[in-house]
């Protein structure tokens, strides 16, 4: 889209855009470029300038079974949390959109968890699902040793999936509800006149019409589970037990800032960047469809 009426003072145009460009240059483009540079060089242990090592850092990363473990954990985590929170959110939105008495209440409450910081969610869930105190510990009272996220990798994984899904349900709900409410009422009414029951209308009319939103949310949820889950993992499990919850971002953080191995961390960052960019490209393809649908 273009404006018909524009201004012509180019110095002013440059001055207006300068702060933003300066910021993204210093804090976005330069660091991203530098990550590339680090990923293909190695810092000598006794100082001096970096040596060119080509793809060696990437080879080291890819040959490390611990790295593949973090990839596997991240992908499983992204998949489980996304499916769980999207399914619940879609179900809730469909039923809230029936607009039975009292449905306004849900609009105001379901998204509250999304306002919480990831570490706050983590701390709450760590307590609630703690094996020897808190809410879920009652299970261990009845069946000793059944639940222990501090020792059992599966339990720890379930814990972070639940925490992440809890946080994202409200967010997804808002988008689903907005999409549902933008479906013209007449379509559902026509379906009802033709004898489709409430559930049939949900399945055959409403769900298909909100698929653009669904695709968009899938991408957002996966990205968020790569990115924002750091706080949850750091507070609840610290990547443990035995790396069962070591997500990619968490591994970059531990390798880069605790292990001080910037080259390896940079190589891992590059892989993660490529992954997230690929996801975003997919998202933009669907953004187009969303707009048409509106």
């Amino acid at each position: 889209m273009e404006k018909r009426a524009t201004f012509s003072n180019l110095w002013l145009a440059a001055a207006f855009i300068a702060p933003q460009m300066l910021l993204i240059f210093v804090f976005f483009y330069w660091p991203s470029g530098e990550a590339l540079y680090w990923a293909v060089t190695l810092e000598p242990p006794f100082g001096g300038s970096n040596q060119w090592v080509g793809l060696q850092n990437f080879m080291t990363v890819f040959e490390d079974p611990k790295y593949w473990n973090s990839v596997r954990v991240s992908l499983t985590f992204a998949f489980s949390a996304t499916v769980l929170s999207l399914a619940i959110a879609a179900l809730l939105a469909l039923f809230v959109d029936r607009r039975l008495p009292g449905h306004q209440v849900y609009k105001f409450t379901f998204f509250l968890p999304y306002a919480l910081a990831a570490p706050a969610v983590g701390l709450a869930f760590r307590f609630i699902f703690s094996p020897d105190a808190g809410f879920v510990s009652a299970i261990n009272h009845a069946f000793p040793g059944l639940w222990n996220p501090a020792l059992n990798g599966y339990d720890a994984f379930i814990l972070i999936v639940l925490a992440q899904s809890w946080k994202m349900v409200g967010y997804n709900f808002i988008f689903f509800l907005a999409a549902l409410q933008s479906i013209p009422r007449t379509i559902s009414e026509a379906g009802a006149m033709d004898g489709a029951s409430v559930l049939q209308r949900m399945r055959d009319i409403q769900l298909p019409l909100i698929t653009p939103t669904l695709f968009f949310l899938i991408v957002i949820n996966i990205t968020d589970s790569f990115v924002d889950s750091f706080g949850i993992v750091d507070i609840t499990t610290s990547g443990g037990p035995a790396r069962a919850t070591e997500l990619m971002v968490y591994k970059i953080y531990t390798d880069g800032f605790q292990g001080k191995d910037y080259s390896l961390a940079a190589a891992q960052s590059i892989v993660l960047m490529v992954l997230v960019i690929a996801l975003t490209f997919i998202q933009f393809r669907f953004v187009e469809r969303r707009v048409h649908y509106r």
């Binding site: 003072n9 210093v26 660091p31």
Partner: protein, 298 residues
């Protein structure tokens, strides 16, 4: 809608009320745990009704987490990010939409790409820049053989280090851009006819019209920056003076001291302190929050 479906209505209500309880119960548990003494909170099963030690625990948590100072830091950072973003994004969107120059689309795409990579994905290199924010310029000068004695600008342990990298994304720019594109051209033409230059048009016509967008952007940015965790954790080593509220949660996690039950009541009280501001903002400004959410993600 038109038909009577008593059974399904009942199921709907049951499902929604059940989900509401399930979604809100963590909040209740945090509150209950924060209101009991050390002994009661570690009981199995834990009590489900609040106890009488709430204020006491809050006071302990407040002191132990140094929240007096830390909350102030968080407010400064969240406020700084919010204001910075609102102003800078408005300026750049104005430049992209209302001026016509060759590099316009280049600039647009340069800004657009930043949407793709959240800060968490590029922490390692961004951290290196934060150690000296003028380093990119030094490197460029060096490349061209110009020797300019630029000072070192270390952003670690400073408010600018906490704020600036968080502003360097494009979310706000696109919100404004989309809005500016819907502003009728006649308005611009009328303003020009009346002899208004770009600055005046921007300040006196465009900005007042953007109020709702600003409010939406402000709420969403405030909550987002308040909840930042990884970046503050890296930039701040001077915990005494520059720690933010979310960072304190890591310190207050009940330690794995062997044989000692964790101090959950104080931890949950601290959690309550940290989560209250963003929750209040979303509750009271929720119209803007929801609007901001839906329009920034477009």
């Amino acid at each position: 809608m038109i038909e009577r479906t008593p059974v399904l209505d009942f199921i709907t209500h049951a499902l929604l009320i059940g989900s509401l309880v399930a979604l809100l119960i963590p909040f209740w548990i945090i509150f209950v745990a924060a209101s009991h003494d050390f002994h009661t909170v570690n009981q199995v099963p834990m009590p489900l009704m609040p106890g009488s030690h709430f204020l006491e625990n809050m006071a302990t948590a407040w002191e132990r987490g140094n929240f007096g100072r830390v909350m102030l830091n968080s407010i400064v950072v969240a406020g700084g990010v919010t204001i910075g973003k609102i102003v800078i994004a408005a300026l750049s969107a104005f430049s992209i939409v209302y001026f016509r120059y060759k590099l316009r689309m280049v600039m647009f795409w340069l800004i657009f790409i930043t949407l793709m990579l959240p800060l968490e994905v590029r922490i390692v290199p961004t951290y290196a820049v934060a150690a000296d924010a003028l380093r990119p310029f030094k490197a460029i000068f060096e490349l061209f053989g110009i020797s300019v004695g630029l000072p070192e600008w270390n952003l670690l342990n400073s408010y600018s280090g906490l704020i600036l990298p968080l502003i360097a994304t494009a979310t706000g720019t696109f919100l404004y851009r989309q809005f500016f594109l819907t502003v009728p051209d006649e308005l611009t033409e009328a303003a020009k006819m009346d002899g208004s230059g770009p600055v005046r048009f921007f300040l006196e016509v465009l900005m007042p019209l953007s109020k709702t967008n600003m409010a939406a952007l402000a709420t969403i940015m405030f909550v987002w920056s308040w909840n930042q965790y990884l970046w503050p954790l890296l930039v701040v080593t001077d915990q005494q003076n520059f720690a933010t509220a979310t960072m304190q949660l890591q310190k207050i996690v009940p330690g794995p001291v062997f044989g000692e039950p964790p101090i959950w009541n104080v931890a949950m009280a601290a959690n309550l302190i940290v989560l209250t501001p963003p929750v209040l903002v979303t509750i009271f400004l929720q119209r803007w929050f929801v609007r901001g959410l839906i329009s920034t993600e477009k």
